[in-house]
Symmetry: C2
Subunit: 225 residues, 2 copies
């Protein structure tokens, strides 16, 4: 079996990734740029959630930008650009997650001092993005009411490595017979004490709480701006 | 960069997987056992769809069995066992897809001649299961109305490598403002002519058409039973 060799190669690549991510995070800190990595299953509504986030931050006068990882299309990037924020697309051509190198390359010719917040929408996948640090300050795991309350139990790695969680599409909770208490208990069992935002991008609920959290994190983490 | 070495190891492992899968498929053919591999995003409703499938096949007197891949829990296996069919769980402990070896190992002490249909519920993931042949005759890609109509464009590999598709949770189509024609057009653009079942496990719609398709495939593919 070739498993040990795969593991060795994989460990080396992850180590390189961590070093790149760490260097990026130090740069972000110096510039006063809070970086957020959004991870979830495909179809959870990352793009709608992020579009609403970008719109509100711009309304507040905050300079924001976004990067979107996608396998093949630039659909999400085009949607996010409706916010008026600069948005870039990383096409992974089949790769199931973003890596620090890809982000670093995409950011190389951007003047990051121009921004207060940078959002990275990862490839829709509950498993693979877990291991890849992108230099972010905040990793947000999203879970929609349409997905089933047991996702945190089935994908504990995603919720364990995230800093905060958001429940999305809460406007559909009743139609989906979503059991809110069970979902909350499942998140808490995987990651006790985790802050969870209950949101609907369509109805605009819960987004203000999320923005207040981001502002406090930026204040705490970043040493400029 | 270590990428070429990764690719080389990966190619070798995929080749081994294909050989194992091919040998299994020949065995399934001889036994008159139709094998179905269900792939989709987490939360698409694979388990509910499969539970309804197992229940109806058992009502028809068909001997059926199922294997479920999951990262950490046996929730899905326990739900499927409610159908009365034998169900086994493969826990992947973080691995994002099933491989032919895992299935072969799980089947080793099963008398496969006892069954007409075997269903394999893959790990919820739109990317990684694509490359791994499990020896199935039918690969079914599922897409729920809650996920967004552009999933086939964003994950073309999943739909390209599938034989048929099912749209799930059609009972929620209106609440989600699901654009059926757009979804159908997107599937057709990635895989022209693909058969698509429009289903609701909750309301029981579309499952009979799916079962009729399975019966015709079993008749065509399997040389015994």
């Amino acid at each position: 079996m070739t498993t040990p060799r795969i593991l060795e190669v994989r460990t080396k690549i992850l180590k390189q990734n961590d070093e790149t991510a760490r260097a990026m995070r130090q740069q972000f800190d110096r510039l006063g740029l809070l970086v957020v990595n959004l991870v979830s299953s495909p179809g959870t509504g990352k793009t709608s959630f992020l579009l609403e986030t970008l719109r509100r931050l711009r309304k507040q006068g905050e300079p924001v930008a976004a990067i979107v990882g996608d396998l093949e299309t630039d659909n999400d990037a085009r949607r996010l650009a409706e916010s008026g924020a600069p948005v870039r697309q990383i096409m992974t051509h089949g790769l199931c997650h973003l890596e620090a190198d890809m982000v670093a390359q995409e950011l190389a010719d951007w003047n990051l001092a121009d921004f207060h917040y940078l959002f990275i929408e990862n490839v829709g996948n509950l498993v693979c993005p877990t291991s890849w640090d992108l230099g972010e300050h905040v990793r947000l795991a999203l879970l929609s009411v349409t997905e089933g309350e047991d996702k945190p139990l089935k994908y504990p790695g995603l919720f364990n490595t995230a800093d905060v969680a958001a429940i999305t599409k809460c406007d559909l909770a009743e139609a989906c017979e979503f059991n809110r208490d069970l979902a909350m208990a499942n998140i808490a069992s995987v990651r006790p004490g985790m802050t969870v935002f209950e949101t609907s991008a369509k109805q605009g609920t819960g987004i203000d709480q999320w923005l207040a959290y981001l502002a406090s994190r930026r204040h705490a983490e970043c040493h400029a701006g």
